[in-house]
Structures are given as C-alpha cells and as structure tokens.
Amino acid sequence: MNKITLGQFSALMLINDVFALLCLTGGISLWTALGFSVGIVVQFILALPLIRIYGRGKNIEQCGKIAQTAALIGVVLWGGLLFSMLWSTGDIISVPFEKLGKWSRLIMAAIIGAVCVYLSSSGIKAVARSGAIAAAVGALCLTAVAVSSIIDSDMKNLTIQPQDGFFNEMIKGIAIGGGMNALTVLLGYTKGKTVRTATTYIICRLIVTALIIAVGVLVSGGIMDITDFPIVTAAQLTQPFSSQRIDSLFLIVFTVFAVYSIAVQGAAADYLLDCVYPKFKKYRCTAMLALMALVGLMFQGKTHYGVTFAVLGTAVPVIAAICWRIRKAVKS
C-alpha cells in the first residue's frame, strides 16, 4: 500500500464520521454533543497503544493474521452499517427516481455501490487524494449550511431535555465511530509522525462532531420529537435565501460523502483480504463490497446504536495492539 499524507488520512476518516453523523437518527441535545465527544476520547484512548506501535514504523501487516482478520471483519461490518445507513437515510433524500418507491433506495444504493467498486479498485492513494478534495468541498458546503443556520437557529433549543442519558449518548457516539476500524489499516501507511496524525484527526473529529450536533440542535431542536433524522432535517430547514431552497446542495454532500465512506471501507477490506488470503486476487474489491451490501441488508431496520456496535467501533485497534504484543513476546 502506498503512503498517504496526514491531510488525506484525516479527510478520509472525517468523511466517514460526518456521513455517520448525517445519518444519525433519534433526538439530539447538547448532552449528545458531550456524550459523543467523550465517546471519541474513549475511542482514542483505547486506540492509543496501537497508534504508538504504528509510531515505530509498524503497520497491520506486522500484527499477524488474527489482527488482520479481526480488522477485516470490523471493516466489513462497518461498511455494511454504512450501506444500511444509506438505505435508511435515502428515504428522505430527494432523487429523480423516487417515484419508484422503495426501489429508489435500492437503485441509489446500487449505483453508489457500483461507483465504490471503481473507487476502491483505483487504490487507496487515488481515493485518498480525491477524498481530500471532496472533503474540502464538503467542508465548504457544510460551513455554508452552518453559517446560514444562524438565521434559522433558536437559542432556546439549547436547553431541550435529552432523550437519553449521558452514558447512552456516549455509547451511541462510539457506535457511530466504526470508522476507527479503517484507522487500523490507514494509519500504518500515513506519512509523518503517527501520534501527531492521529491526534490531529481526533481533534478535528471532536470539533466537527460538536459543530454538526450544535447546528442540528439549534435548527431542528423544536421539532426533534417528530423528526427521524435531526441533522438532515437541520440541513433542509437551513435556507439562506428567502425565495429559493438549497436542499439539493445537501444531496451533493450526502452522496459524495456516502461514496467516499464506503469506498474507503472497500479499499481497506480489499487490502486486508490480500493480507489474510493472498491467493484471492481477482474481483477482491467487488466481493468485499458485495459482502458489505449483504451485511447492510442484514442490519436493515435495526438500530445501530447499541453496545454491540460500540464494541465493534473500539475492539479492532485493541485486538490489533494485543496481537502485536503477543507476537513480539513470542518472538523474543
């Protein structure tokens, strides 16, 4: 695998996190922002041993087959979750073929899946480079939404009662942070100081998460009880102009982020499968993305914010670090 830069790594990871946030369901409050932030810090602390190991020039290849298999399972499950989120959220996104009813979501997911096959098979370097540009454009659009939300925001919403307790919000925050599984692969191939890279990413993630949730709370706080997707609703309610709507611009961000989130998982899974089972050469990427789509179908209609998914979001870096330690101990 070729090396990617700090900026590209952070962009890919953040796209993943932002897409998961865009698809967030259920009520949100300031507690959510706090819970999610603590969840991110917990994830970072749990991943720290692995980050430090990678800081010594190691990567997932040195962690052994068990770690690689665990990472592969983690990446495939998270990729499946992303597909599932896409299907669920696709309902409220306006696409030209929505007249087709429930088929429209399937067509949308199939098109995105097909594009992801192309992107993933182009290699992580190409995806990372284009992802950095896409992230910059997305950040610009989201900033426009955030700035225009000032007009539509209601400060009273800051005081709305949380629907869940702090612990539940934290678990939820960790559960939508399954992108950390891809970190297990990508961080080992990032140029520069690994700890600095990971820390920069985590700080950016904290800021972006807090900002998006704050916008969501400020704009859609008043109708939180009747909205399924608070962040998407916030984007739809945020209109900077009185005589025209910019909902469709959000569709662009949503689509691009969906493509890159899944493509990164596809590229990571492709690489991990090559490590675990190198004899599988042809159609590796397609097979992995098809598997993710199947997992997505399996998760469809289920809530993604339980302890099981939180474990999925934290276990892989921990397992990889333990495997590396054991291998080192056995060798010495």
Binding site: Q8, S122, R245, T255
Partner: protein, 486 residues
C-alpha cells in the same frame, strides 16, 4: 529486398557490385543519385538522396575538394587522406554496412564509396525544404516570443539552445521506428532532472518498437501509464520558451523529427491553466486570469448538466423570477431538455469539426454561417429554447479558454449532461466522484497529476492558486522533484 537482408551486410569492395546492390536495395528509386568519378586515381561514386541534400553545399564543399586529390596507393589511403586533410563537413561519419549507409543516405548525407573499399564515408550536407519558424497556431501569446517549433528537429534543438546557453542542457538524439528511422531527441537539464525520472523515460522509450513515428500520439502512450486515464500525464507544447521553462523546473522533454510539438514529462493538471503571459502581467492580474480559466473549465464541463438537472429535477434551487422565465421558455420547446441539450451540443461539435477539416478560407466561414443561421433558425422555430442555447454557448466558450483540455472537456460535458439529465444532481455528484478519482489516480514516474492540490503543497500553490511576484519566484528554487511521491 527486405530490410533484414541488407541491414548488417558488409559493404562490397567492388564498386560495380556495390552500386548494383544499392540499386537492388532501393529498387531503382529515382531519388537516389549515383555520381561516378575518379579521384586520387581510384574509381569512386558519390551517392545522394535528391531533395534531402543541398546541391550547392554538395558541389562546393564535397565534390570540388574531392575531385582535386592527388593519386593515392589504395582506397584505404584515399579515405585516410580525406579524413585527415579535408574538412568537407562538420558532420562526418563512416558506414561499415548497408543498413547504416542507407540510413545516412536517406537522412541527407552525401555518401562516398570507392572501388576496393569495404566501408563508406558520409558527409552531412542536409538541405531539405522545410517550413520556416512561425508563430504557434494553438498556443496564443500576447507579450512573449512569437516563435514556435517547426518540423525540423535540428531547428527545434537550436531554438532551445538559443534560450538556454548552458552545458547543463543536454539533448540526446536517438532513432526510433524500424521503417521511418525518425530522430527523437530527449532534452533535460542534467542538474535539475530527477535521475529516477530520466531512467524511467529511457526505459519507456526503449519499449517503442514501432515501424514509424508520424505524430506525438505514437510516442505518448509509451510515456504514460497503462491504466485508463481521462487526462494525459504528458503535455504538449509548440513553444520553445514554454519548454525551456519546463526544463528549468526539472522536467524532461521529447522532440520528434517532423512534428512541431515537444512532449513534456511529467505534466500536471494545473499546468493546463497556465500561460506564458501570466508571467508578463502583474501578479494580481495573472491570478485573476487563472481563476477565470479554472472557472471556465468547471462551467464548460458542468453548466449544461447543471442546467438540465436543475430545470428537470431541482427547480427549488432557482428563485421564482428565474424559474418563471425558464418555465416560460421551456414550455414552448417541443423536445425534452436533455434531448435539446444533446442536439445543440452535437450540432456544435459537427460545426466545429467541419470548420477544422475544411480548407481554412472556407472553414471559418462555414463555422460562422452555420452557427449563426442554424442557431438563429433553431431558436426562431422554437426547436431550441434561448436559455438552453445561451448555457450551451457559454459552456462551449468556456472550453475554448483551456484548449489543452478540449478533448476531455468535450467528452465530460456529454457524460455529465447524461448523468444530470437522467439522475439530477445525484448523478452529477456520482460522476464527479468517478472523474475526480480518475484524475487523482493519474500518476506517472511518481509525479501525482493533481499536485500541488492533492497531495497539497503550499509552495506549489504559490504558482497555482495565485501567481507570486518574480522577486519571490527567483528565490523559490522550485523543481518538479518536490512533487515526487512514491
């Protein structure tokens, strides 16, 4: 006679047999002239290829000195005398076999053969008709030089040398094409070009086993990666000053005899938006012009697609006045917006192609008349709506701002139009992801095509997003090696 049969065959010492064999090789071709004469008491023949050599130079510089040689003991001593005492040409060489002899003969050398000699002497007396140096037709420039490359490789090499009078500029000639024997010249600044780049270019050039090289398109695929890429990672220029600026940045270039273009390796995406005039204007104006070009490129690719997508699927993006205006116009058009757009774009492409292929005096008129008449008639008859025609015209005009990327812009415009017309902004976003990844995945010899944007280089952005002043630029010491990423 086949090429392989004489390529390595040694030269016959008997003059008669030698001449017969040459006639056999050339099948009595009329342009091969054989002038038999006696000099130094030995029977000789001077072979020339008509039209490839200068008759005046041959008569004055070769024939006249040759005919006045005193008697010699043997052909060997005759050749030794000529080599030692007569400077008939600055470009002198000898041939030991018929392959070399024929190559020289066809390159405009005068070849001397003698009875009893198993080798031939060759003198460079080239003087073929060629086009004079003119202003480049495709790379317009207002404030800089008005010289462009010509078809003769030696003239092109001299134009480079005139601008870079330094021993660091190296020009290596080689011959490619088993039938065409085309001269190819690899140019680089030896103190700036990355050695890895040079080695890989040489390796790529070694892979060329073509029969003939008649355009840059014969060589470029060998210098680019095998994967499918929308954009070329090698560039073309017909301006010696542009090429010099690229060589100074540590790039390499390939000149091909018979083609008034140089291939630049590597080329970056952002360079398509640079012109030499940018460095002649004030930095603020150059920066403004560059952003105009970036904007024109995006508009030219996306405008028809966005128009179709918005009008067909996302009218809420328009304000009420604009929406009413478009609805009013489009409701009178008999065709769907997508079909209309395709028709107008195809019509433009047909007119453009006709303008290019027809003789120049007719071509221009055809373009103008057909554009005006067909365009006007289409709008008046209600076949095409005015806003759509305006959008298409703007998009086409935008594409002409970046002529380097015109083929890609044309194809992408159609592709995005189809995506936008069928799937709205969703389709445009999806296609944008594919195109972006394809562009970002383009990388030859370890130089990312999208540098300095991604991977980001702040130093590179000084001459991409903006154009810094010359005082700062002279201290920059920039070479393309800074983008090397492997």
């Amino acid at each position: 006679m086949k090429h392989q049969e004489y390529e390595k065959r040694g030269i016959y010492p008997e003059l008669r047999k030698n001449i017969s064999f040459i006639k056999e090789i050339t099948d009595g071709s009329s342009d091969i002239l054989v002038n038999e004469f006696i000099t130094g008491g030995i029977k000789c023949a001077l072979l020339c290829c008509e039209g490839m050599m200068s008759s005046q130079t041959t008569a004055d510089m070769v024939l006249e000195p040759l005919t006045g040689i005193e008697n010699q003991d043997s052909p060997k001593s005759l050749f030794s005398y000529i080599q030692t005492y007569l400077l008939l040409s600055t470009d002198r060489t000898s041939a030991e076999n018929y392959g070399d002899m024929m190559r020289m003969l066809h390159s405009g050398f005068a070849v001397l053969i003698a009875d009893g000699a198993d080798s031939a002497l060759a003198f460079g007396v080239q003087g073929y008709a060629s086009r004079g140096i003119q202003e480049p037709s495709g790379e317009g420039n207002i404030l800089g030089s008005h010289e462009g490359f010509v078809e003769t490789i030696r003239t092109n090499m001299s134009m480079l040398r005139r601008r870079l009078k330094t021993p660091e500029l190296v020009m290596k000639l080689m011959v490619k094409g088993s039938s065409s024997h085309t001269d190819i010249c690899l140019c680089y600044m030896k103190d700036r070009v990355p050695q890895k780049l040079l080695d890989r270019i040489m390796k790529s050039l070694d892979e060329i086993k073509l029969e003939s090289i008649l355009s840059t398109g014969y060589v470029r695929p060998f210098l680019e990666q095998k994967n499918f890429n929308l954009f070329s990672s090698t560039g073309l220029t017909e301006r010696p000053d542009v090429l010099c600026s690229k060589l100074i940045e540590g790039r390499a270039a390939v000149l091909i005899d018979g083609i008034p273009y140089a291939i630049i390796i590597p080329r970056l995406f952002c360079e398509s938006f640079h012109t030499l005039d940018d460095y002649a204007h004030k930095p603020y104006y150059s920066t403004f012009l560059r952003w105009i070009r970036y904007g024109a490129f995006v508009l030219s690719v996306l405008l028809p697609a966005i128009y179709a997508a918005i009008v067909m699927y996302h009218p809420e993006l328009l304000n009420s006045t604009l929406l009413l205006l478009l609805v009013q116009e489009e409701k009178n058009a008999p065709l769907s917006i997508l079909t209309e757009s395709f028709l107008v774009l195809l019509m433009y492409e047909v007119i453009r192609e006709a303008g290019v292929r027809l003789p120049k005096p007719v071509g221009g008129s055809v373009s103008i008349i057909s554009g005006l008449i067909i365009g006007d008639a289409a709008v008046k008859s209600g076949l095409v709506s005015t806003p759509l025609l305006t959008m298409t015209a703007l998009a086409v005009l935008g594409g002409l701002v970046v002529p380097d990327l015109n083929p890609q812009i044309t194809v992408l415009r159609f592709a995005f139009l189809a995506a936008g017309g069928i799937m709205g902004l969703f389709g445009i976003s999806i296609l944008a992801c594919i195109v972006l990844t394809n562009i970002c995945g383009t990388e030859d010899y370890g130089f990312p095509f999208t540098a300095p944007l991604s991977p980001f280089s702040s130093k590179g952005m000084e001459d991409t997003a903006v154009r810094i002043g010359m005082r700062k630029m002279q201290n920059r010491g920039f070479t393309v090696e800074e983008y090397f990423n492997e």
